[in-house]
Symmetry: C2
Subunit: 213 residues, 2 copies
DNA sequence: ACATTTTTAGGAACGCGTTCCATTATTGCA
DNA sequence: TGCAATAATGGAACGCGTTCCTAAAAATGT
């Protein structure tokens, strides 16, 4: 494959897209291993660089910041989450049951994998613009089937007049944000004496479904 | 006031409780000013120490960590939030209306004061035990009237059989966690294309209330 | 052959939260 | 009076995420 992608010009030629991708893939691969082996607290730019055989500065040459690098872990995490959701709804067909099971599996997944929750939701990029992470969202949506299954189940409920609310996107977000609140609150506010999480999930979900019917 | 709180013993006498409290209050006061004047990103231990006329090490002598220091900002923030809630429900008496208005005011407050949200919910102490922050929770609960008003309104609804669920604490937490999810998700997941927050709040709250009735 | 230009990588620095080791202050004991 | 003991403070260090300034690599132009 020809590597020159521009007219000949002075100066050191830029790396080919393939080469760039190879280096990025290496760094991402090492990041994933580090996260799996040593967890959230020990995944640092310096350690990643060391294991990738480069220096921290190099990582900032290929990635905007740590959060962009961690995007690739997000995709893996959401794939695993999706597998669990897909397994949990394996023999279900009723949309309400699918909603029920995916919602519950989603919250329980974060409660069971708190470091994974943190690596996604507790590292904020204050300088990012809204369109900044659209790419990662698209990656997640395209690889995590459970999101589309969940959206379809909600849409089916709306089409079948199970739900009075007609705006699919809004209903999806209502469910998603309440599930996220359960996970977020229970994980990060440890000083609160929470009721049994299973009971909280069940009460919230039943109330939402009943209220939307 | 006698300052010796122990039998005479060798070594430098410890500061009196009053003196300790004075120093802590000074540091807290400076922290609040810095947060108000320069916001979340610029409230650092070094800057606080500088303005308090001490060094960072001193802050760690009087406070466990940065998060414990920020607890005192939390109390102020929750007091302000409570004032807004109390103002919003000023002439209301119906418990359901009170729940409605407090819930909405609570979410909107965080959406309107995102730095205040971050200073409370985005700085996690991974080494803390559950009982670690119980003191701050008590401080918040005793100074933020809206929490008790909210709990009472929910309890009234349960007593009046408006809600089928009989566990007041659970219902309170269901409302709280869903409100928190709305704020948390909208603030920290900027890459998502959210529906209008007012609509999300309204749909979620109406669904919860209807579902609990 | 050397200078210039452009890209990629390197070393060090920045400010952060936090901790380590040392110093100073202040007491009682021998 | 000097030493030991205890508390409070000090300076520096640690590792973090990130950026700055510089160097090396690799090309073209003169």
């Amino acid at each position: 494959m020809a590597t020159i992608t521009k007219k000949k010009q002075r100066g050191r030629p830029a790396q080919s897209a393939a080469k760039k991708e190879e280096i990025r893939a290496k760094i991402v691969s090492v990041s994933k291993e580090l996260f799996i082996n040593e967890g959230f607290e020990n995944i640092s730019i310096r350690k990643i660089a060391q294991q990738a055989g480069c220096i921290p500065r190099t990582i900032y040459y290929y990635f905007e910041n740590k959060r962009e690098l961690l995007h690739y872990l997000w995709v893996d995490i959401f794939k695993t989450l999706s597998s669990e959701c897909e397994r949990a709804i394996k023999s279900l067909e009723a949309p309400l049951e699918i909603i029920h099971v995916i919602y519950t599996t989603y919250v329980n997944y974060w409660l069971a994998h708190r470091d994974q929750y943190r690596v996604i939701f507790m590292i904020e990029d204050l300088n990012a613009t809204s369109n900044h992470d659209t790419a990662v969202l698209d990656m997640i949506k395209s690889s995590a089937k459970f999101i589309r299954i969940f959206e379809k189940a909600i849409n089916d409920c709306i089409q079948n007049k199970v739900f009075k609310e007609k705006n699919t996107n809004r209903v999806v977000q209502v469910f998603f944000l309440s599930a996220h609140g359960l996970a977020s609150g229970i994980i990060t506010m440890r000083e609160m004496k929470w009721e049994n999480p299973d009971a909280l999930i069940k009460s919230t979900l039943n109330a939402l479904i009943t209220g939307l019917e």
